[in-house]
Every structure is written in C-alpha cells, then in structure tokens.
Point group: C2
Chain length 520, copies 2
C-alpha cells in the first residue's frame, strides 16, 4: 500500500519554522467552514447483476487477448509488458486472459490518502468515500459579465480561490481552466503554484509532457519534503487513454513519472460512445475495462503499489450531428456499471461530475448536471472531477455555473450521510408534543434542531412569487453572479510557510529562464 | 384483487356502434408514438436497512397506539373503526398495534391496472412498474409569452393535450391546472370531461367534495359502462391527509365514494417537514406511515379490495422564512425510505415528480426537478404525479417547464430499461472491426444501431458554441417555448364514440342546470 488511510503526520508542520509563524498564519486565516471527505452511509445503486458483470469482464479479456492495445512511442512500456508475459508485435500488445487484472490486484492499493499541505484537508480516495474536485480542462471561461472568452491565469487563480472557499469541494483540482495567456511549455508552473499558494486543499499535477509531470513532482517535494512524497500520495494526475485502445507516448510518459514517484494516477478512457467506443452501453463498458486494466497495470509494472484509480469519462454523441451530449440515460448506465467493475477490480473509482452540453447556466445545464452528479454519488464514485463549473461539453469554465454546482455538491454530502436514526432523529417526543391538527413550527424539537435540520441552499430562491418579483425577479444564474463575486471579495489566502513559498518561486523562475517560451 | 394485471377487455370497444365509426375514428387519429408503463429492469436504490425500517414501523405503531389520529366530521368512519377494534374517544381514534397494517394487507391489491378508454393506454400501477402523470393543482400558469396569470379551462385543455402528445407521459393526470374561470362547484365536470375528450389516457377524478367524486364516478360509468367500472379501476384519486394526523370530512367523504365504487385512491400525507411533521427524516417517516396506514385501511374497511396507493408528498421548509423548499437532500431521503416502507406494506407507491420552488424554468427549477425526479425513479415509485409542468412550489403550471420535464421523463424511461446485454449490446464485433486508434462513426454496428442507440432530447442544444450563437443563442426555456407551441399546433383529438360524447355532454348540462354556480 502506498499510504495508510489514517496516521499521516501533518506534512507542513515539519517545515514550519516556529510557533510564531504558525500563530501569525492562524490570525490571517479566514474562518472557513470546510467539509471532510464524504463517507457514504447509504447503499450503492447498481445496475448490473453478477452475471452481467462477469460477462463484461470476459469481453474485456477477449478484447485484450484477441485485439490488444497499442502502446505508442514508448519502448520501455513494451519491454515491461514483454517481461510480464504479454505478446508484443510492433506496438500492439496482446495479453493472456486475466494477466492485467492479476497485476493490478497484486499491488494496487484499494484506497489511499492524498495528503494536502494543510493536513486537515487531506482526502481519502477509495472505499465508501467520495471526494469532489472542480472542473478540469476548459480553454474558455463564461460569466454573465463577460460572456465567453479565452481563460487566463487570473481566471485560473479565481477558480482555485472559489474551490478553496467552497465547503463541499474537497480538492483544488488541476486545470480548473487553461491559462492560454501563458506559454504552453511553462504554464504548468504557474498552475501548480496557484494551487499551492491560493489553496491548501490537495491538487493535481501536469500531464501534458513527462517533463512537466516531473516539474509537478519537484514542486510537491518542495512543499511536502522529498521523503514524505516518496511514501505518500500528494499529487493525483489525470491520464487519459486515446480511445479506442491506444496509449500514446505523452500519457505513458507522464504515467511513468508519477508512478515512479509513488504518486496517484487516474487512468481514464475519454469516451464519446459512437465515436471512441461502440454505441452500446455493454460494448463501451468492455472496452473501457480493457483500457483501464492495461493503464493501471502499467503503473503497477513501473512501481508496484503506486496508487491508481479506475477512471471513466463516458458520454455519447448526437447521432444526428456528432456533437457530444451529456446527462442522457446511456452514459448514466455506463457510470453505474463502471463503478461496479472498479469495485470488483478493487481500486478507487473516478467518474461523473456536473457535466452538460449547454453553453450557458440555464435549465439544460442544470438538468444535465444533476442527471450526472446524483448518479455519480449514488454509484459510489470515489473521486469526482468536474464537480463544479463545467459548461459547453468542457470547453468553458463557468463562474456562475461553479457556485451553482457547488451548492449541489453540498446537498450530495448531506444525502450521502443517510437517515439519522438516533432518538433525536426519530423525534417521537416532538410528535407527542404537537399532536394531531397542530404544527411543528415552534415545538421544542424544532427549536433545538432548526439550524441544522435542512440543507440551506446558497442559490435557490424559495420566497413567495411576490417577494421574488419585488427583489427583481432574478433567475438562478443572476443570483449566482452575486455569490461568486462575494466569495472572491471575501477570499483570504491560507497561510503558507514563507520559506516554502520562496523556494517555489525560485524553482519556477529558474525553470522559466532555462528555455524559451513555446506554445507546443 | 380489484383487477388483474392483464386481460381486461377493451372498454371502449363495447360501446362502439359499428365498424364504420371505428374506421372513421382511426383515420382521424394522429400517429403518435406512445410508451407503455415503465417496467423497471434496474435494481432499487434503498437508504434504510431492515433494522431501520423496523424501527420506523414500530414508531408508527406507537403513534397510532398512543397519540392516535383524528377522524373529523365523519361518523361513519368512526363507526367502521369502532367495529374494527379501535379505541374511539370523540373524534380521536387510537389503534391496537398492527391493526391498520393487518387490515391493509388482508385485502388491498399489491398492484392493479387502471384502464384507459383506449385500452392500449391502460397502465399497471404497482410492482416494478412506473407511471408518469402531469402536474396537479396549480391555480396559475406561466409561459414565456404571458408570464404568470390565473389558469383557465383553456389552459386545462392545453395541458391535457400536451400530456396526450407526450410519449413518456402515461397518464392524463387530474387537476393539471385549476380552471379558476369556472365556478368551484361545477368546474370538476369540465375537468373530467376534458380528460375524456381530449385524451385517451387514464385520468383522475375530483376530490374537492364527495358529490364531485360521485359525479366523476358517474362520468366514468358513461365512458366505460357501469359493469366494467364495478370490477376495474378506471379512476385514480388523490386523497390528502391533513397532516399532522388528521383526516377531514371532505377527504374521507371522497375516499369513501371512490372505495365504494371500487376505484383507486392515493392516500397521501402532504408534508412540509418542520411544519406538518418533525424536522427530521426518521420522524417524518414514522408520522407519514401512521397516516397512510389509517387512510388506506379506512378504504379497505369501506370496501375490501379497493385499490389503494401509499402516497407521500414530503418536502421541507426554509427554517429562515418558512417557505417550502424542493430538491434538497432531506426530502430525497424521505422519498427513498418511504418507497421501502410501501413495499413492506405491500401496496403501490406514489411520490416525487419534477418539483421545484423556482418561479421560472431556470437552472434552479431544473436542478430541483432533476434531484426529485431521478430519486423518484430509482426508488421504484409506481405512480408519479407532478411528473411534468410543476413550478413555484406547485402554484403554477409552466408551459415551457412541462415540455422540459417531459423530455426528462423520456430519459427516465430509457434508464429504467437497464443495460442491454444481448450480442448486439455487447458489440464485440464492432470492437473487432474498428480496432485500436480508429473510430466507430461509420462501422457496421453503428450504422445498424444509430437511430435508437441514444436518447434524443427534444430540448437540449448540443451544437457547437458558434452554431448555437448563430441560431440566436437561445436558452432551454426559449427552445421549449417553440416545442409546446408546435405540439399544440399538431394536436389532433383521439377518436371518441359519438354516443358516449353525447351522453357526457348531456350529463354535464343537466348537472350544471340543477343548482346555481358557487365558488365554495
């Protein structure tokens, strides 16, 4: 196992220079309510029975045995698989039935802790836990004020700050938007730094080039110490398959860097069914499983015990236009079933989020997001990327959408807690006190519980029509516009060890000076 | 059992006067695609274990034994319960532990068919089936064109027509909006007639007065024949408890009329937790169960075997303003657990729908609706009122909201079907044909399946940002505005036996002439 569920020493404490610094830092720290990793107390929703799951697993083995997977531009991976007993012809790797599964099950941890620089924000990934992270990847942003435009590093910082300020977001994420104002070959430095500096939640490393992955690990070592990083996951990193059935050199390179450093990878086929996989749920599942098995097993061949996550990003396309669609029933079935496959494999599972095709934070965006997010929770997903902010099929990070989704994440946290069956929860005395034909508004039990009884939305307007109209008749997006602006106005950076900050800034400056800017 | 799941003779066929009429009717009948009652092929989502459920049942028995239920303004019901062994003091009825449950379990059907005048539209209520019906009760309508105004009988007919035109809506519902332009004491005649005349799906009767319930039964007898009605459910009727723990004379009167006529009743505590029940989930559940047990058992005392449904409408209130809230996690937990309690009791279950507090069809409306509708399906709800059109906590029926929700209902029907594990579903040949690094867009399997592979939304815009913008940058509500107008423009009334229509019109005219208009 890469790391235990509990008992990690507080990583920043080791580097803190003294009590005075800590006290100074504490004074500057905003009193933010933050929620821990969700521990689910409700049963799982499942859509396949034992027989169906075994069928999908057999089909995945058939794909791996008969068709195989391409490992492109990476001789080392081919050599690893040859040594492990696979059949290699050119870049095509074919696997004896059950081999990748047995490699994963031999050494991959069932669950692990990703340490945050503030140990109170460390998250447990796996088991009956769920971690919410923000949107990942969009080159555009959208807000009511500015409409849609290319994202900048300023937007990136803003989304890091918003995720930091949101109690139900447990994780700072990775590419919360793509800062296209910075050169491609150096922007990862500013991105990773922003997560460290403007948040104290766990975060993700760069995967766009093996060298950028290595930079991410170096920066993590500055923050956490090299020794701590060697035996603890402090980075979790998104490795996408090039579906169908291809691993490319960039992704394999990043995967190897992270696995070698004992850092976590989320091995994720990116599927738009009908294009990158068959148009059917069962066909998509078999292909996804085959791809995940080979990616996660590769990480185990590189370093047995490196944390790996079974990821799947699966949606469909419109068969009329080819455009990606979200929140429709077929991807929901893939999501539920894939979670079951991950549990049988015995590693943590990542999928879902608040996905939508809508360009704006309207009813389409909300229907589709909710129809993705609730299944994500009920399926028992362990790590949820795109939890908040996703718009336009992932092309835009929405400011209003971010806080609207964040509100929904808070609701999911309550739902996952299940039914309180304590004596206070049963409330028999309240029913005795009130009796038939009266009401519970002022009774002792209501008085004692009213502050925490019900989830309180930060976005919804529940007032009367008349009051709502008198207050301007705003829609949810207009209210959300005020919410994110207030959050950014109230933002205060979490404390950071000045020595760590200095070392990071120095590292980045040196790196940036070492080679010219490039957008490749 | 009131009626069998299958084998009902086609009710309208009996009254048809001859082949020529039938052929004439068929020519005028639009070629509408209609979906049958959902048969769920995915497992249930449950939130309580055996122990938790038994605890709630014990607490319900304690409420019934210690506190009891008020039966107001109905001597007959008090007499029935006295004879059954309950303890009666004034209007308060206390029940020996287990008595109401044993009465229900002795005679209430586990599932039943509600016959429609078009036998193809008959629905099965109970078991692993789900039936979607439209919104019920709003005095206002809302549309983008007119904003919010009082509803009229014209609106009522429009929503009946929209429900008729919607494949995923199986049921015409009841008070799709309240036609406040008609006198209160006569409008039920026009409402019931509209369901019969403008749709051929099953519908609901009036419950606002025992005499109006009796009129509903009379009209059903004109349509289906008295003999058929005597042994088949052709009406399903919403009986609300006056929570906490009160049955009033109006509701008991309507309940008795329908039970005596062997027609179905949905016995439903209307709960805003914190006002009509305790602020906790477990407390609300125990009270709901106590109320449902006594209401459904009363129907069985009136006529053993009359179909009854375990209903619950449970939401919360804002503890700040007292306003009702929807789509929040606590009501979702109530919904899931109540479905489990209904299954243990052994009668069909009704809850949920597309509920929201939003005044307009915006993101709030959609998040809240989806967060109610998906749990409604996953819980195994058998009859879903408010499936489409609900706005503003039930105060407004929304035209745009109606078609937006209807689109979601279609998705729920697909989701309920589960994963296709046939050879075609497995798609191994497609994966073999395409192979690594290619795509599935043109492969034989995709070609063969593309028309039915994915649910096709009638509302979502999945196009590129550029195309969406070029087409006016509409939001979902603006697109929905066009959808409902097109549906109404395309509407053609289903055929009806002219003799039946004449008899209904005559009955209504006679009733209306018999006493003066009144708004009480």
């Amino acid at each position: 196992m890469a790391s235990a569920e509990a008992g990690n020493p507080p990583p920043t404490a080791r580097r803190t220079r003294g009590g005075a610094d800590v006290r100074r830092a504490a004074r500057g720290h905003p009193k933010l309510q933050q929620l821990p990793t969700i521990t689910r107390r409700i049963p799982l929703t499942e859509v396949l029975d034992e027989e169906g799951l075994a069928l999908i697993e057999r089909n995945a083995d058939t794909i791996l045995e008969e068709i195989g997977i391409e490992f492109r531009d990476d001789e080392e991976c081919l050599a690893l698989w040859r040594a492990a007993g696979a059949d290699i012809r050119g870049t095509r790797v074919r696997f004896p039935r059950g081999l990748p599964r047995s490699i994963v099950q031999r050494s991959a941890p069932r669950l692990f802790t990703q340490a945050a620089r503030n140990p109170e924000r460390s998250v447990v990934i796996g088991g009956n836990h769920t971690v919410f992270a923000p949107v990942y990847g969009p080159p555009f942003i959208r807000s009511l004020d500015e409409g849609r435009r290319y994202a900048t590093i300023e937007d990136f910082r803003n989304f890091v700050k918003l995720a930091y300020m949101t109690p139900a977001i447990h994780h700072s994420g990775g590419t919360v938007c793509e800062p296209v104002d910075l050169p491609v070959n150096k922007r990862h430095l500013d991105m990773v730094y922003s997560h460290i500096r403007y948040s104290d939640k766990p975060f993700m490393g760069s995967v766009t080039h093996p060298l950028r992955a290595a930079d991410s690990v170096e920066m993590a070592r500055i923050v956490f110490g090299a020794e701590f990083v060697e035996s603890n996951a402090v980075l979790i990193n998104l490795i996408n398959a090039n579906s169908p059935m291809v691993w490319d050199g960039t992704m394999l390179g990043a995967l190897k860097v992270y696995a070698r450093a004992n850092q976590a990878t989320i091995v994720t086929p990116f599927i738009l069914a009908g294009a990158m996989s068959p148009v059917t749920v069962a066909g998509t599942l078999a292909q996804v499983l085959a791809e995940v098995l080979t990616g996660t097993a590769t990480a185990q061949l590189v370093r047995p015990g490196a944390p790996v996550v079974f990821g799947v990003f699966a949606s469909s396309i419109s068969m009329q236009s080819g455009a990606p669609t979200f929140g429709t029933p077929e991807p929901t079935l893939v999501l539920f079933a894939a979670a079951q496959l991950a549990r049988r494999l015995g590693i943590p599972f990542r999928t879902g989020g608040s996905l939508c095709a809508s360009k704006i934070p309207d009813a389409q965006a909300a229907y589709e997001s909710a129809q993705t997010l609730l299944p994500t929770l009920l399926a028992g997903t362990n790590f949820v990327l795109h939890g908040a902010g996703w718009l336009e099929g992932g092309l835009a990070s929405g400011y209003e959408k971010f806080v609207m989704d964040a509100d929904q994440l808070g609701m999911m946290q309550v739902l996952a807690g299940g039914v309180d069956l304590s004596e206070n929860g049963q409330a028999l005395d309240a029913i005795r006190e009130v009796g038939p034909g009266s009401h519970f508004l002022g009774c002792a039990h209501t008085q004692a519980n009213f502050e925490t009884a019900f989830y309180r939305s930060s976005i919804a307007d529940n007032n009367s029509f008349e009051q709502w109209e008198a207050e301007g008749g705003l829609d949810a997006a207009q209210r959300a516009n005020k919410v994110w602006k207030r959050l950014l106005a109230d933002y205060e950076a979490p404390p950071i060890d000045p020595g760590v900050d200095e070392a990071l800034v120095e590292f980045i400056a040196k790196k940036k000076a070492a080679f010219p800017d490039s957008n490749v």
